[in-house]
């Protein structure tokens, strides 16, 4: 289960968040925990360099893409390596939408499109599509494989 996908800017403002199976009262804790992780470890980190953390049986993988930080929390089959796959799918989709590692401004300009991509990649806590072409087609309401 992918428990959370969260985009934040470098100041710790949350831009997009998707929770699944996380009780409402715990979300605030997750937000602060993740943003704190990022503020401690992502400064000076390379673009798309993967960072890892864990909390009990839950894995967390996070990275920066352009000016935006991306955090993913998962459990069970979504361990750190599977989350690395998820994060890769998401970053490549975001880069595809924005055309480059996005600045915060660019990210916000493409906000709607990114939400749609995310919808195609992580759906109800499960990884769905990973290939960026497929994701692109689906966000334009085209079939995953073109006849």
């Amino acid at each position: 289960m992918i428990l959370a996908v969260l985009f934040a800017n470098s100041d710790g403002n949350i831009l997009i968040e998707r929770f699944h199976g996380v009780p409402a009262e715990e979300r605030l804790h997750w937000r602060s925990f993740l943003v704190k992780l990022g503020s401690e470890n992502l400064k000076g980190s390379k673009n798309e360099e993967l960072h890892v953390a864990s909390h009990k049986s839950v894995s967390i993988v996070y990275t920066t893409i352009g000016d935006v930080c991306l955090y993913i929390v998962g459990k069970d089959e979504y361990d750190e390596l599977a989350l690395a796959e998820v994060i890769f799918a998401i970053t490549s989709a975001v880069k595809d939408v924005c055309g480059k590692p996005p600045t915060e401004r660019l990210f916000l300009d493409k906000y709607g499109r990114i939400c749609l991509c995310l919808d195609e990649i992580v759906w109800q806590g499960l990884l769905e599509n990973t290939e960026k072409d497929r994701v692109r087609r689906l966000t334009r309401l085209k079939p995953p494989v073109e006849p």
Partner: protein, 1164 residues
């Protein structure tokens, strides 16, 4: 959080809408937006009274109207508020055939609306209109997105699974809004109908929309059975048409290009339908369900195959037999499952590993070794997978890791499999015949030689540890940890054979071996070189690599590596290296306390797996106690001490106690002067907070020593062979100490430590030390009791203090005018000992008299003796737990006389039940409480250390269950639980976040209540990793372990009391915290008898009336007390600090029916 709100007023919407031309608008609307959040802030909270809501709703509408007009006036083309966006949708939907409307929807309205968590149902009609009339794909894609949101919005205060700016509870608002309110109930059926119709349509041209509609439908809530039925119908309808294809699947990358239109459309539909099937609730008994899933593994779409496999593997975990039957020949060479090995989807292969694991380990398939071997062979092939994720999953499966419920046997079997089995690739017709996949066939030909699994695994892990990727390192360390777990299990079951060389011929395992076929083939590996070819050699070289990983800069990776090292630590190996690694690591301030506690819990788990390692683990735990006292959870540490001590075995007990109490030998930390320490034994308490925490820890250790020294030393007064006093009394103190230490060095050294603590150290430690000494005095035989008596006596007088204080550095505290300041505390203790000695003297005198005059003891005399015995027992029980049936306050010589009296009067010796101390559960030592439980069943049994040991070796879970809140943590950890949210260590951070995303939007009131709750949660959330750093928590938890015994309380001996309450009711943290705090502020408060307010609540709440009998006459001393006559029957209502509130059956002579009586006067 609230301050963050003030520091910056930007919201996500501001960020999105802000551009230079519209700054003013954005600023204005941001304010409005956050106030409109007041209406929206009903999220997640029970909705306030209606009147309140109405007014809020009123304000909301008003504010939004103002916003709209203001925004329109300033900048008509940039709608920013939610209401504006919705209005735009309504307007644009009406003109959706125009290109400009479509563009506006796609470019500005829909993306901005995406900021919100959900849209209100009143938007649905417009969305549905767009859905029907608009043809623009981009618009439609957003329409599906929002329709899915409306469907998934479960109506509970607008917080759906997805995120976004929290929106109001639309339904609640619609209810209030009498005019034209639209609720979800109105629109959801319409949406579902429209989407269902679309997803059932067969028009090929629109199949992309069909997929999207189906996907949107799956987001509707699973709670509605009607909806589920409909969805089921649709999904199975589609599968009916598309699943039954005999067409052979083309693999992976080729799917995209080739294929006719029809088969591609079919593939897409297969994908969509399986994706929906995956979201349907699992239905293990349902054959069509399984059948469709099994068909799915032959589909052309890799994502569809992944979903199919994940469904099958989940069902296989529950019902392996039917899955194996349904899969039939798929696992054979050339079958569909073999093809998945080469499928370009990592998770699909992960699920394949899980599936193979479930089937190859299934007991129900024992009759079908052929099936099992097919699946294990598949699993072993996955070890060669290029993806680390798949390979690691396969290793874990081979090792027998399941969902944390696997048994030790499974684990041990896993280790044996790993070390003994051979991967022999099948003749690989699937690869060879297909020819095209040159890459993989090359790979498999390279690896075609039979290979021992262990070698493959070790090589793979070693190369993973050289990776630069943190997730890979973390995962690899986790695999090593799992390996350690399996090895420990194998070790525990005696199936461990590390020196075995990898000679395949010697591998005829005594266990059932599905790969027997393969193992019998001679191995091509050279063997006999020793070194690298033994498992030990391979492990050693792996561990070398693992250790170097400690250098990783990420703490989480290092933590995992340390856990792996702890698990791979063998009881017979030197652990110096591990110790120094941990000591070095702990000096790093970057470690968050949650991680440290995780490592501590790993020590627990390691101990559970191998009780032999108790001493080793205690040594490691000691490093935690000294290095990071402020960061670790003292409860968990104490539990570790205790369980390790009990588990250390007769030989290890001394060492184990030493390992714990070494904490006491540490010099008091001196803030600021602790830089540059490397020694394990040095204290790092460089700040006042951790110095404080260390002091608490020392206090806990003192208490622990007092409670457990007798157990560790196997010295019990009731087993002591030495007759009390007499000869030894004549010796002088020095000789006595010498005699004592030669007889039992463990106890002697414990005494020495405690005596030192009673002088040095802080006030709290001295108190604890004196109490610990009393406990030991009561429980031990001579000469220890006398030694302590002398010591306490001296302490009370304060006369010898000056001699001792030179030995130890004083901490600068004023020791008190009366010498130690402990006089008031010691005197009652001395009194007990005085009474015991006096009674013993009297007894000795009486015996001598009787012997001299050759006179039998009369019944009267015996009765007197027996009463003295009982009185002393009651007295002693106030200080610490002693087994009533065995304990002889009058010394061993009295045993016979008391026995005579008991037999004559038919008094049962099993005082255990009626012992008020036991009844209220002060017994602390775990083995003792276990024994006491036994006593209730078998009449004559006391504490038998051998029995205790036998039990300790087993360490059953139910015993753990009786203990402390820490136990819950340990159990949670062992069960692999914990997906709850982490907490952030310092609140500072949360408050000082420069700007907050959604939080601005949230009403202040909500934030405030949330904060308050959070503070409570600090104590109620035992599973939150946070806050262990805070001094307060560690103080309170220390006191959880060491409440002070109260003379007048029925719960004198601390820890047990806490345990008992926990056993009786769900742990009510708040009350115990209250109690803990109280005892911290005033350690002597408990002595006041009734001052434990919190107990009152606890006990009242547990009130099942219990019947009891008055043991003695009691005269009421106040209005609220009740007169009792021996033998009178009463009903016990509840207990308050040593007093029962009882009701009589009929009014007494004074006419009173109910009142308080001392606990000791009533048998319960």
């Amino acid at each position: 959080m609230a301050s963050g709100q003030d520091s910056s007023g930007t919201t996500l919407m501001d960020l999105i809408t802000s551009d230079p031309s519209a700054t003013s608008t954005a600023g204005a609307s941001s304010q409005q937006q956050s106030s409109s959040g007041v209406g929206g802030s009903l999220l997640g909270k029970p909705v306030a009274p209606t009147a309140d809501r109405k007014s809020k709703k009123g304000t909301l509408t008003q504010i939004q109207n103002e916003t709209i007009s203001a925004a329109k006036a300033l900048n008509p083309v940039k709608p920013v508020s939610y209401a504006q966006l919705v209005r735009s949708i309504h307007e644009l939907a009406a003109t959706c055939d125009q290109k400009s409307s479509q563009r506006q929807l796609v470019n500005s309205v829909f993306p901005k609306l995406a900021v919100y968590n959900s849209v209100d149902p009143s938007v649905a009609p417009s969305l549905l209109m767009l859905h029907q009339q608009c043809e623009d794909r981009n618009v439609l894609r957003y329409v599906y997105y929002y329709l899915a949101r409306i469907l998934s919005d479960n109506g509970s205060q607008g917080l759906s699974a997805a995120g976004g700016i929290p929106t109001p509870n639309w339904d609640a608002l619609a209810d209030i809004d009498a005019v034209g309110g639209v609720t979800r109930a109105d629109v959801v059926p319409r949406i579902v109908d429209q989407l269902s119709a679309e997803s059932s349509s067969d028009d090929v041209e629109f199949h992309a929309r069909r997929l999207a509609a189906l996907k949107a439908l799956t987001s509707c809530s699973t709670s509605s059975s009607e909806m589920m039925e409909k969805l089921n119908e649709i999904v199975f309808g589609i599968l009916e048409k598309v699943a039954d294809t005999k067409q052979k699947r083309k693999k992976g990358i080729f799917t995209k290009q080739g294929g006719d239109k029809e088969s591609i459309v079919r593939g897409n539909l297969q994908y969509a339908s399986l994706s929906s099937l995956r979201r349907l609730p699992l239905d293990p008994g349902n054959q069509p369900f399984l059948h469709r899933a099994v068909q799915g593994i032959e589909f052309s779409d890799p994502v569809a195959v992944r979903h199919a496999l994940s469904i099958i593997s989940e069902i296989a975990a529950k019902d392996p037999y039917s899955v194996a039957m349904a899969l039939g020949k798929s696992a054979q060479p050339g079958g569909a499952l073999q093809d998945i090995l080469h499928l370009h989807d990592v998770l699909a292969r992960v699920y394949l590993a899980k599936l193979c694991h479930s089937i190859s380990r299934a007991r129900v398939l024992d009759q079908r070794p052929d099936i099992k071997s097919q699946y294990s062979s598949l699993l072993y092939q996955l070890l060669l997978d290029p993806s680390d994720r798949v390979c690691f999953e396969a290793i874990n499966c081979v090792l027998g890791k399941g969902d944390n419920t696997e048994s030790t046997e499974d684990r041990a079997g896993g280790w044996i499999r790993l070390t003994r089995e051979i991967l022999k690739l099948p003749e690989a017709p699937s690869v060879a015949s297909k020819g095209v996949l040159s890459k993989s066939s090359e790979k498999s030909s390279k690896a075609r030689r039979p290979q021992p699994l262990i070698k493959l695994v070790m090589r793979r892990l070693e190369s993973s540890f050289r990776s630069f990727s943190r997730p890979v390192l973390h995962a690899a360390a986790r695999v090593v940890q799992e390996m350690g777990k399996s090895r420990a299990a194998a070790f525990a079951l005696g199936a461990y054979d590390e020196g075995a060389s990898l000679n395949v011929e010697s591998l005829d395992s005594d266990l059932e071996n599905p790969m027997a076929e393969a193992t019998r083939k001679p191995n091509l590996l050279s063997n006999g070189h020793g070194g690298m070819d033994t498992i030990a050699g391979l492990l050693a070289s792996l561990m070398e690599v693992v250790r170097t990983t400690v250098a990783c800069e990420c703490v989480y990776v290092r933590a995992m590596v340390i856990k792996a090292l702890i698990w791979m630590q063998n009881p017979h190996e030197s652990f110096e290296e591990l110790k120094s690694i941990i000591a070095c690591e702990l000096s790093d301030p970057a470690w968050p306390s949650s991680l440290l506690n995780d490592v501590l819990l790993t020590l627990h788990a390691r101990f559970k797996a191998t009780p032999d390692m108790a001493v080793t683990l205690l040594e490691i735990a000691r490093i935690f106690a000294t290095k990071v006292p402020g960061k670790i959870d003292a409860d968990v540490l104490q539990l570790l001490w205790k369980t390790c001590l009990v588990g250390a075995g007769p030989d290890g007990k001394h060492t184990a106690l030493e390992a714990v109490t070494i904490v006491l030998d540490l010099p008091p930390p001196q803030p600021g002067s602790m830089s540059g320490l490397t020694s394990v034994d040095m204290v790092s308490a460089s700040d006042p907070k951790s110095a404080m925490a260390l002091q608490r820890l020392v206090q806990a250790a003192v208490w622990f020593l007092g409670e457990n020294a007798n157990y560790a030393a196997s010295e019990y007064a009731w087993e002591s062979a030495t007759p009390p006093g007499t000869a030894l009394m004549m010796l002088d103190a020095d000789k006595m100490v010498a005699a004592a230490s030669s007889r039992n060095p463990t106890l002697a050294s414990a005494l020495t430590r405690l005596q030192r603590c009673a002088f040095s150290g802080s006030w709290e430690i001295r108190i604890a030390a004196v109490q610990a000494l009393t406990t030991i005095a009561i429980r031990s035989g001579e000469p220890y009791r006398l030694q302590i008596y002398e010591f306490l006596h001296a302490l009370a007088l304060g006369g010898v203090q000056s001699n001792f204080s030179e030995l130890q550095l004083s901490n600068g505290e004023n020791q008190g005018a009366s010498g130690t300041g402990l006089g008031s505390l010691i005197i009652p203790m001395l009194k007990v000992l005085d009474e015991m000695y006096r009674a013993q003297d009297d007894l000795a005198r009486d015996i001598r008299q009787h012997d001299n005059s050759k006179q039998e003891w009369s019944d009267e005399e015996l009765k007197e003796l027996y009463e003295t015995h009982e009185r002393l027992l009651d007295f002693v029980s106030l200080f610490c737990f002693v087994p009533r049936a065995k304990y002889l306050p009058l010394g061993p010589t009295s045993a016979k006389l008391i026995e005579i009296y008991r037999n004559r009067h038919n008094i049962s010796a099993s005082g255990g039940l009626s012992d008020p101390a036991v009844a209220t559960g002060i017994s602390d030592l775990m083995y003792e409480s276990k024994e006491v439980q036994k006593e209730t069943n078998t009449v004559q049994s006391g504490i038998d250390p051998d029995l205790a040991m036998a039990w300790a070796a087993g360490l059953e879970d139910d015993v753990w269950a009786n203990n402390a809140p820490a136990v819950d943590k340990v159990k949670d950890f062992l069960a692999g639980a914990g997906t709850d949210a982490p907490d952030v260590d310092d609140e500072e951070y949360m408050n000082s976040r420069p700007s907050v995303g959604y939080d601005d939007m949230w009403a202040k009131t909500i934030l405030e209540t949330y904060d308050a709750e959070e503070d409570d949660g600090r104590y109620s959330g035992g599973s939150s990793p946070e806050s262990t750093g805070s001094v307060e928590t560690s103080i309170s938890s220390h006191f959880g372990g060491m409440n002070y015994p109260s003379l007048f309380s029925s719960k004198p001996s601390s820890h047990g009391a806490t345990q008992q309450t926990i056993r009786e009711e769900p742990p009510s943290y708040s009350t115990s915290v209250l109690q803990r705090k109280e005892s911290f502020e005033n350690p002597l408060a408990g002595r006041g008898g009734r001052s434990f307010g919190s107990h009152e609540d606890e006990d009242k709440s547990s009130g099942n009336p219990q019947s009891g009998k008055a043991l003695y006459d009691f005269t009421a001393g106040g209005d609220d007390e009740l007169n009792l006559i021996t033998g009178e029957e009463v009903e016990i209502e509840y207990e308050v600090d040593g007093w029962y509130y009882v009701k009589k059956r009929r009014p007494g002579r004074d006419g009173k029916m109910a009142g308080l009586v001392p606990v000791l006067y009533v048998s319960s």
